[in-house]
């Protein structure tokens, strides 16, 4: 077994290797973007990649869009520090795809066009519904963006051994500038290819480290778990539920609340939803979700090996670098350890490689998020609310690029002060808002004839306000020494995760809003929506084959 002393991370020559690989990732993704930018001529090219991606290609891109740094670094880190409890994220994030597969993907592909709001506005009054959907699209995407950008800052800082806040801020600015370039030039086509490349890199890197870890334990999962339990000094408790969650009754409900948001949030994430529009048919959209489930499932199984591997092979004690980075460095340090340790060539190469994969992961996800919000601003707010559907294609293509620039700038400006926030918390909040605001509206619109404009706006705004509001009045923001405002105390809501309450509120608002309004005009087009979403009759046609 490998023994590891407290490590100076990338030093001397290693540092240059890491920086070199980072620059290669940047160069490769920029090349793809410039290459894709030449074929961005119509709005369909820009928003939906010309609907020309095959099921397999889009499946890879969904994986690239979905498996964020929070998954790659965060989950393996949570398992390394807290053992079994970290695994819940993996399970929730995977099971969630069944909601997307069974209820959303194909129907959305058939009835929508470019944005989530397209689907909702199909039989509703345009202005209010699109405004509501665009608002929640932007809120969800910004929370998610902040998580990724803050992660990029601390990851690069830790890897290069710099603590200076100036350099961290510079990294955040650089990531922001890159994502603006990807999205303004590459549109959906460029973003998709960046995500495909990232998915391949991430799967290959994770598989390599997993095999190297398992080889240390003769490919016995039981031996790996035993070594992790022993090395952490926590014994078999490390392999049992309860190290992180559910220590008291409030904690147990918090855990239940988190579990619900994870499983119901995915199918309401705007940057995931717009991926379904990039395939030529609903059949290809289904195939892409099936590929994504296979890839994402395999990846999350490997997080188990990475997490317990880090616990077994690297120091995760209270004074270790892994503990100080809240677990985020578990995977990179594990790569270094299985490569032969900090002073070996193999260790340096693997550390640099995995760090570059993590960086590519962040870049691909932020591009997808920026694209989703910029598309919603241009297509929903500008073209359909402000210009009432009479905007020219050329003007929409200019506005979407300006929107990407502004969103990128806002994200940079927010991410710099947000560095104190916990990354996992920001991602969990994005999932809670998506599950509370977007999912109820989508489900009602597809399956409830009576649903109307008032109901759609009520469920989106109700779910959004409930999720964000409950967090403001939770211990996350005030009342405990680890809160954002430790000196204030207005935390009357006991749970850190709002989903358990805010998801039912979202559904209830949609239900009551519908019944309290006398508007029944939305029912006239329900037969049309049903026929179109189930059969694809009259759906937007695609440019490629299945």
């Amino acid at each position: 077994m490998i023994t590891t002393a407290p490590l100076p991370l990338a030093t001397g020559g290693n540092q240059w290797l890491t920086i070199g690989l980072f620059l290669m990732v940047v160069a490769l993704t920029l090349y793809i973007t410039f290459w894709a930018s030449r074929s961005n001529k119509t709005t369909t090219d820009y928003y939906a990649g010309g609907r020309s991606f095959s099921g397999f290609q889009n499946g890879l891109a969904i994986g690239g869009d979905y498996m964020s740094a929070a998954s790659f670094l965060g989950i393996s880190g949570a398992i390394a520090l807290y053992g079994y409890d970290g695994f819940l994220y993996s399970i929730g994030f995977l099971v969630a795809w069944l909601v997307a597969l069974l209820l959303i993907a194909e129907l959305l592909r058939n009835s929508g066009r470019y944005t989530m709001a397209d689907q909702l506005a199909y039989r509703m009054r345009q202005a209010p519904v699109r405004t509501a959907a665009a608002t929640s699209t932007i809120v969800v995407s910004i929370f998610y963006l902040l998580a990724q950008m803050v992660g990029a800052g601390s990851l690069v800082g830790l890897l290069l051994g710099v603590t200076s806040p100036v350099i961290k801020n510079l990294v955040i600015v650089a990531v922001g500038v890159l994502m603006i370039i990807y999205v303004t030039l590459g549109g959906m086509k460029g973003t998709t290819w960046v995500q495909i490349v990232k998915a391949v890199l991430l799967m290959a890197g994770t598989l390599l480290i997993s095999i190297l870890v398992l080889a240390e334990f003769n490919f016995s999962l039981s031996d790996l778990l035993g070594a992790a339990a022993e090395k952490t000094g926590k014994g078999e408790e490390f392999l049992q539920p309860g190290q992180l969650y559910g220590k008291d009754l409030v904690g147990k409900f918090d855990f239940l609340s988190l579990g619900l948001a994870l499983v119901l949030g995915t199918a309401g994430l705007p940057h995931i939803l717009i991926r379904f529009y990039t395939t030529p048919t609903a059949h290809a959209a289904r195939k892409s979700v099936l590929w994504a489930i296979g890839l994402i499932g395999a990846f999350y199984l490997m997080t188990l090996v990475l997490g317990f591997g880090a616990a077994a092979l690297v120091d995760t004690g209270p004074e270790s670098q892994i503990a100080k980075s809240s677990g985020n460095l578990a995977s990179p340090l594990l790569a270094q350890a299985v490569g032969g340790g900090p002073d070996s060539l193999g260790g340096s190469v693997l550390l640099a490689l995995i760090s570059a994969v993590a960086f590519a992961t962040i870049l691909a996800v932020v591009a997808g998020l920026t694209l989703a919000s910029a598309s919603s601003v241009a297509h929903d707010l500008y073209a359909n609310v402000w210009r009432k559907g009479k905007a020219s294609e050329a003007s929409e293509l200019i506005v979407v690029r300006i929107a990407a620039l502004v969103i990128g700038a806002v994200a940079i400006a927010l991410a710099i002060p947000a560095q104190r926030l916990n990354i996992a918390f920001l991602v969990a909040l994005a999932f809670a808002v998506a599950a509370s605001a977007n999912l109820p509206a989508l489900i009602f619109n597809l399956f409830w004839k009576r649903f109307n404009t008032a109901g759609a706006c009520a469920s989106i705004f109700g779910g959004l306000i409930a999720a964000v509001g409950l967090v403001i009045f939770s211990p996350v923001v005030s009342g405990t020494p680890t809160s954002l405002m430790p000196d204030a105390d207005f935390a009357w809501f006991p749970l850190r995760n709002p989903g358990l309450v805010s998801i039912p509120i979202g559904f209830l608002c949609g239900f009551l809003g519908t019944l309290l309004s006398k508007d029944t005009s939305s029912q006239d087009r329900y037969p049309e929506l049903e026929v179109r979403s189930l059969t694809g009759a009259g759906a937007e046609k695609g440019g490629g084959s299945d």
Partner: protein, 121 residues
Amino acid sequence: MTDDVKPDSDSDLPPTPDDQTYLQIHQQQDFIELRRRYKRFAFPATAAFMLWYITYVICNNWARDFMNTPVYGNINVALVFGLLQFVSTFLIASLYARHAAKALDPLSIKIREEFEEMTGR
């Protein structure tokens, strides 16, 4: 390509020319059967996996002794239960793929072709 038809911008405007075609298809036996077949799989399957997943989360909270039972070596019920969530996800996904290919796709293709004939597109 300039501005193509914008079906998403007209729902508070006068009806589209295809309205009657959609209504006609909506009454057809084929479509009613397609919708029944879709819902008969998707809704119970959703209920089943949600229940199964919530059971897992609840066991993590309130059935710790059961979850801590050793199964083989260092592998306990909690881990097996978690891995079974992966298995059930893969299983439901592949069952749905089969159901869709066998029971849904032939009908939806037929209806779509009829629609294209009726609307001349």
